[in-house]
């Protein structure tokens, strides 16, 4: 793939910001959208819009076919055995809350243990805290001892028959670490625990095969993979989903309703109460077609190349500290860094004046920030449309930080 050609599909990239060409390196926060997705969303509203699953008319049928088609595309993309276990939500965060609410709250009891990790996004910590507060379960975290990877020896030591659920990011949104999910799942299954994997930073960027990971739940989100906001998903093992109570009550999730009780629809609809974000789901389907057209493997290879170049160029900047793995093959296209003792917010503001958009802050991962011993970091994150030239612009813009704050002098 040629990133310079790919850029033509993304109209937002073609603009000046503060007098400089926009260099968008905040893809771990959200991705930009190609014309193919913007146009499909618009086309859907112009031609096919109708509520799904409950209309006998033609438009309702078209919308339903597209919505269910998107479900099948997501299932295929992540290597799920079929679409039945694939539930649409509004975000990866809602997906994690769904599992914590509909599974954990009904099954955990006092003394049970939930194992998360010290490198999780807040959504994969706080959702479980809420379930723990309601059930008396406790939360433990697999430590990140070297600032890069999970300590699996410590994990092994914390496993016991009381471990009920183990939840881990597939790819860290700060360090970029690709976690050994299959290994973790095998260890967790030995003690009978369920395994949840947060794929928000993996699915957009690399081939994912959940059958190889052998997790019990896998969650993701659309807006980080060229789709609109407001659409996410959770895949769950069908046998587990069948046993679970619903998440929300409302239309679509029922089979029959009386005043005092109801029977529930079959999966996945049991978990999709109310009108789902069907237009966004259809656009997610278009985004998956777009990404498949380029090739997820080709996107991964491009990001590895770019990350390798970024790590090399950034390591040449005096006073710059990089967090996380330093081998591009071992990580997603994310580079977290600090320049001298300059606060990441100052770095972010200065880069913005040069047209370079990065994230600065704690990245919704405050426990990880404490482990790293920093209040915040800057983070550059790549996607299919980023180029080597943009990495050069990032490095050049960091020169302004050095000039103003006198780093390395």
């Amino acid at each position: 793939m040629d990133a310079r050609e790919v850029r033509n599909d993304f109209p937002v990239l073609d603009q000046m910001v503060n007098g400089h060409p926009l260099t968008y390196l905040d893809n771990a926060a959200t991705s930009q959208k190609p014309n193919q997705v913007i146009d499909e969303l618009s086309r859907f509203f112009r031609e096919d819009n109708a509520n799904v699953h409950r209309s006998v008319h033609t438009l309702g049928e078209r919308a339903t076919v597209l919505y269910e088609g998107a479900r099948a595309k997501v299932a295929e993309l992540i290597g799920a055995p079929g679409p039945r276990g694939l539930i649409f939500t509004k975000s990866a965060t809602e997906s994690l809350n769904l599992i914590a609410y509909a599974w954990a709250r009904h099954r955990l009891t006092e003394g049970d243990e939930i194992v998360t990790t010290a490198m999780e996004h807040h959504s994969n910590i706080v959702s479980w805290q809420l379930a723990a507060q309601d059930t008396g379960a406790t939360i433990r975290a697999i430590p990140v001892n070297d600032g890069k990877t999970l300590d699996l020896e410590a994990f092994r030591a914390m496993l016991s028959p009381r471990t009920r659920i183990v939840t881990v990011a597939h790819v860290s949104n700060v360090l970029g670490t690709i976690n050994p999910v299959a290994e973790i799942a095998a260890m967790a299954h030995e003690v009978g625990a369920l395994v949840v994997c947060d794929g928000a930073q993996a699915v957009p960027h690399m081939p994912v095969d959940i059958s190889a990971l052998d997790c019990d739940f896998y969650v993701g989100t659309g807006h980080k993979m060229c789709a609109p906001t407001g659409i996410g998903f959770v895949w769950g093992r069908e046998s587990i989903l069948e046993e679970m109570d619903p998440f929300h009550g409302g239309g679509e999730m029922i089979n029959d309703v009386w005043i005092d009780h109801s029977t529930y629809n079959e999966i996945p609809y049991k978990f999709e109460a109310g009108t789902p974000p069907f237009a966004e789901a259809v656009a997610l389907g278009a985004a998956i077609d777009y990404l498949n057209g380029i090739g997820i493997k080709a996107i991964r290879d491009h990001e590895v190349e770019l990350t390798k170049y970024g790590l090399q160029r950034l390591s040449e900047v005096p006073g710059l500290t990089i967090y996380g793995p330093t081998e591009a093959e071992e990580k997603g296209g994310v580079i977290a860094f600090n320049l001298g003792d300059v606060h990441a917010h100052d770095v972010g503001t200065i880069l913005d004046t040069q047209g370079v958009a990065i994230r600065a802050g704690h990245h919704c991962a405050k426990p990880l920030m404490r482990t790293l011993g920093v209040p915040a970091t800057a983070r550059a994150s790549f996607y299919l449309y980023n180029t080597h030239e943009e990495v050069d612009r990032l490095v050049e813009a960091l020169g302004e930080v050095t000039r103003l704050f006198g780093v390395g002098r």
Binding site: N18, V342, H343, A344, H345, D346, T349, I350, T353, A360, G361, H362, K366, M369, P375, A376, E400, L404, F405
Partner: protein, 147 residues
């Protein structure tokens, strides 16, 4: 002067590099820790009040240059003034940052340099962190005296 130099004026960088009134006060009449949950700037402010005058003030903290410089300048400005005057200054500074009044160097001194932050709306809360902490500390002190 570029927009960047307008934001990062030398006086701001000076206060960031060499913060004034840095440290702890023990005993103190108010002592509170506040942060910006979104960005992780932190300020821990200590104050000593004698006869309605803010005779002692010090801070510890970490964060961006704007949050730490603004707090450093604030401690210089409010040290030795009455509680009412300190509250008045805080209100004046907040109005300046929100673009409601133009800076008055006579009243605000070095703090007027922070006016450039106005152009970066996401950073205004960094500049206000120390001041909001001060207002909260003074309020808590007054409530304690009143009770």
């Amino acid at each position: 002067m570029s927009g960047l130099d307008e934001l990062y004026k030398e006086v701001i960088l000076d206060h960031y590099r060499s913060p004034r009134n840095r440290g702890k006060l023990d005993p103190s009449d108010f002592d509170l820790h506040r942060d910006n949950p979104l960005c992780g700037d932190e300020v821990h402010l200590f104050g000593v009040v004698e006869d309605g005058q803010l005779t002692g003030i010090a801070f510890e903290g970490k964060g961006c240059s704007i949050s730490q410089a603004s707090t450093s300048m604030m401690t210089e400005k409010v040290k030795g003034v009455s509680i009412a005057e300190a509250e008045e200054l805080a209100k004046l500074f907040k109005s300046m940052m929100q673009g409601e009044v133009s800076p008055d160097p006579d009243k605000l001194g070095d703090l007027a340099a922070l006016q450039g932050v106005q152009k970066y709306p996401v950073r205004i809360k960094c500049a206000l962190l120390g001041w909001n902490t001060l207002l909260e500390g003074l309020k808590a002190y007054k409530e304690k005296q009143g009770s």
